[in-house]
Amino acid sequence: MKRIGKRLRSNLVIYGLVVVTYVVLQMVMGSGHISSSLQGQLVPICVYVVMAVSLNLTIGVLGELSLGHAGFMSVGAFTGVVACIALEGIISLGAVRMAVSMLIGAACAALAGVLIGIPVLRLSGDYLAIVTLAFGEIIKNIINCLYVGIDHRGLRISFLTSAAALELAEGGRVIIDGPMGISGIKKLSTFTMGFALILITLFIVLNLIYSRSGRAIMALRDNRIAAESVGIPATKYKMMAFVTSAALAGAAGTLYALNYSTVTAAKFNFNTSILILVFVVLGGLGNILGSIIAATVLTILPEMLRQFNDYRMLVYAVVLILVMLATNNDDFKGLLYQIRGKILARNGTKGKEGAVNE
C-alpha cells in the first residue's frame, strides 16, 4: 500500500504541475501581461514536451535507443494536415477537426511504428539506433518525393513526379507539394489543445509504465534473458512501447504542423531527433517529470539568449554542457539531496509523514 501511495503521489505531482502551469499561464494571458515571444512558444513547448515524454518511453522505459523520433513526428504532421484539409468541408468546427486530424496523424505514425518495429525490434542496442536513424531519413526523402492534392473526386496522390502530374480538376488544391511541403495551413493549434495533448500523453504513458505490461517492459529493459525465461514475450511488449511512443509523436507532429502556416519534410531531420534525445537525456532516462522540465527549459532558453546575438547558440551549448556536468556531479547532487533532506526533515517534524533518514 505504501508503494502505491508513493507512486500516486509522484504522478499527482506531475499532473498537478502541468495543470497549475496551464492555469497560471491562462490567467497571465487573460490579463494580457504575457510577451508575444513567450506566447508564441507555448504550442511548440507543448509539442516538445509530448515528444520528449514519448521518446522517454522508448529510451528510458523500454531501454532502446531510437534516433528517428522526428520521423514519426513527420508522418503525423503530414498525414494530420492532409486529413485536416480533406475534412474541411465535413467537420466545420476547428477544434473537433483538429482532434480528428491528430487521431489520424497518431494512427498513421503508429502504423509506421508497427512497420518499422516488426523487423527492427528483433534487434537491440546499436542496431536499433542505426535502423531508426535510417528510418527518419527515409521518411524525409519519401515526403520530399510525395505529391498530394485534393479536388471533388477526392485525394490524389502522385510519387516522384511533380504537382502537375496530379491532374487536379478545376478548383482542386495541391496539399503536399514535394520538397516544398505544405504551405498555407490554417493555424488551428492552441495552447489549450497542446495542454490537452500533454495530459493525454501523461495519462497514457504513466498508466502504461505502472501497469502489468509496463512492468514486463521494464523487466525486458533490465534483463532480457531473465524476462524471457519467465515467459514474457519480448517482441510483443517491445512493440507495445515502441508503437505507443510513435503514435504520441505523430499526434505531436500534427499539433506542430497546424501551428505554422508551412511545414517541410526537411524540418524533421536528424537534428530534430537529436534535439529531442537531448531533452530526454537531460531530464533523466525514465524520468517523466524531468523530460517535461528539460523540454520546456531548452525550448525557451535559445529565445531567452537572444540578447547575445550571434553568440546565442554558443552560449546555449555552453549552458547545455554545464547543466549536463552539474547534474552528473556527485558534489552537486549531494548538495541537492542535502537541501531536499532538510526540507523533508522539517516537514517530517511538523507532519505525520515519516521523514527520511537523518
Binding site: 504541475l17 504575457i34 510577451s35 526523402n141 520530399n144 504551405s183 517541410t264 519534410a265 509523514e353
Partner: protein, 397 residues
C-alpha cells in the same frame, strides 16, 4: 501530501516570478507602439519601428546579413536627411520556420510597426501568415516563393517570385541563344530551387529548348556532384543551369574543372554572392552568367553611392540581397510619405494605409527603375543579365 504541496507551491512561486519577469520585460520593451495584449499602448516615439527576420547565423547567413546591412545603410541615410525617421531591428531566424516565428514575436514585443518579413523563403511563408493575422504590413526583401504573398493582402515582395525567375531565365537563354543542350542541377528539397526549376522546364518546353539532363541533390548530399556532372557531360550539355544558392554552386565549378568539363553556367539570384565566399577561387566562376536585378558595377549615382557606403561600412561589395534590403526601406519611406503616416500611428492603422497606397506608387531604386506592385503583393521589374569577368560582376547588355 505536504511535500507535494510545498513543491507545487514553490513551482507556482517560480512561475510567478518568471511571468513577472516577462511581463516587466515586455511592457518596457513594447511601450512605444506595442499593441500586444489587448491594450494598444500609445506610441510616443518619433521614429517608425521597422523590423525583419533573416538568417544571421548558419548556412544561409550571408543573405540575412547582407539584407540587414543594406537596410541599415538606407535607414542611416534617411535619418540623416531629417523628415521621416526609422529605427531598424533584425532578429536571427536561422533559416527555419519555427525560429522565424519566434524571432518575429520578439520583434512584436519590441513594438515593430512595419515588418521587413523574412529574408529567405521557407521562414517567410511562416512569418507572412503571422503578419497577416496581426495586421502588420510586410515588405520582404528577398523571399521569392509564391506562397509568401498568396492570399495575403498586406504582404509585398521586393524581389521576383520564383516562377518569374524561372521563366525569365529561360526567355533570356532563348533570346541570347546561350545554349542548345541544357543541363539543370537543382536542389529538390529547397522551395526556392524547386520553384525555379518547375517554371524553367515548363517555359523551356514552350520555347523548344532542349533539356538533356535534369539532376537533383538535397541538403544532405550537397558536397559531391560527380554523378550529376557526369550525366550532364555524357549527354553533351553545353549550358548548365543552376537555380541554386552559391555554396553548392562553388563546389560544382570546382568538381567540373577537376573532371575537365567546361560548360557555360547560368545562375539566378542565389548565385549572387559567390565572389564574396571565403576561400573560393574566383577564377573558377569566370564567365558564369546570372540573372539578378542588381548590378554593383552600374554607373548610376544611386548604385555608386550605395556600393561606396557599403564597402566603407562592411568592407565588401554588396550583393543583390543588400540592394533589396536597401530598396525595401526606401520603398516603405516613399509609401509612408504618400500615405501620410506618422510614427505615432498603430501598426494596424499604418498597415491599412500602406495596403491602399503600395499598389499606386512607382519606385526607382537600386534593383530597378519604375518598379510597381500588383495588389497581390508581387513586384514588376525587369531582371538584368550579368556575367562574372576578372572576379567582378559585369552587366551583359
Amino acid at each position: 501530501m505536504k511535500k507535494t504541496l510545498s513543491i507545487m507551491l514553490s513551482m507556482l512561486l517560480l512561475l510567478g516570478v518568471l511571468a513577472g519577469c516577462n511581463n516587466a520585460g515586455s511592457s518596457s520593451a513594447s511601450a512605444p507602439g506595442g499593441s500586444e495584449g489587448g491594450q494598444p499602448a500609445a506610441p510616443s516615439a518619433t521614429a517608425f519601428k521597422i523590423g525583419g527576420t533573416g538568417p544571421l547565423t548558419g548556412g544561409a547567413a550571408i543573405y540575412g546579413i547582407a539584407a540587414q546591412n543594406g537596410a541599415q545603410i538606407a535607414v542611416e541615410e534617411i535619418n540623416a536627411m531629417g523628415g521621416i525617421q526609422f529605427e531598424l531591428k533584425y532578429e536571427d531566424d536561422e533559416h527555419d520556420a519555427e525560429k522565424a516565428v519566434n524571432a518575429y514575436n520578439k520583434l512584436k514585443d519590441w513594438g515593430v510597426q512595419i515588418s521587413l518579413g523574412s529574408v529567405t523563403s521557407t521562414p517567410a511563408v511562416a512569418t507572412s501568415a503571422e503578419t497577416f493575422a496581426d495586421r502588420i504590413f510586410a515588405l520582404t526583401p528577398s523571399a521569392s516563393a509564391a506562397a509568401v504573398v498568396e492570399g495575403k493582402d498586406n504582404v509585398y515582395q521586393m524581389c521576383f517570385t520564383d516562377p518569374n525567375q524561372g521563366s525569365a531565365s529561360t526567355q533570356y537563354i532563348f533570346d541570347k541563344k546561350l545554349g542548345n543542350k541544357i543541363a539543370v542541377i537543382y536542389k529538390n528539397d529547397d522551395v526556392y530551387s524547386k520553384g525555379i526549376y518547375d517554371t524553367f522546364t515548363a517555359k523551356a518546353k514552350e520555347l523548344g529548348l532542349e533539356i538533356v539532363s535534369a539532376t537533383t541533390f538535397t541538403e544532405d548530399s550537397q558536397t559531391d556532384f560527380s554523378v550529376q556532372l557526369t550525366e550532364a557531360k555524357n549527354n553533351g550539355a553545353d549550358l548548365v543551369f543552376l537555380p541554386i544558392y552559391y555554396t553548392p554552386a562553388s563546389l560544382i565549378f570546382q568538381q567540373a574543372k577537376a573532371m575537365d568539363y567546361f560548360p557555360k553556367y547560368f545562375g539566378v539570384d542565389g548565385m549572387d554572392g559567390i565572389l564574396a565566399l571565403e576561400g573560393f577561387d574566383t577564377s573558377l566562376a569566370e564567365d558564369v552568367m546570372l540573372l539578378t536585378p542588381f548590378n554593383a558595377d552600374a554607373t548610376d549615382d544611386l548604385t555608386v553611392n550605395f556600393v561606396k557606403k557599403y564597402q566603407e561600412a562592411y568592407g565588401e561589395i554588396p550583393n543583390q540581397f543588400a540592394a533589396d534590403g536597401y530598396d525595401c526601406v526606401y520603398a516603405i519611406k516613399q509609401a509612408l510619405e504618400a500615405a501620410g503616416c506618422t510614427p505615432d500611428m498603430s501598426a494596424a492603422d499604418i498597415c491599412e494605409k500602406l495596403v491602399a497606397t503600395f499598389p499606386t506608387i512607382t519606385f526607382n531604386g537600386l534593383t530597378g527603375d519604375d518598379v510597381t506592385w500588383a495588389p497581390t503583393g508581387e513586384v514588376s521589374k525587369s531582371p538584368k543579365g550579368m556575367i562574372i569577368q576578372n572576379g567582378a560582376y559585369v552587366g551583359m547588355d
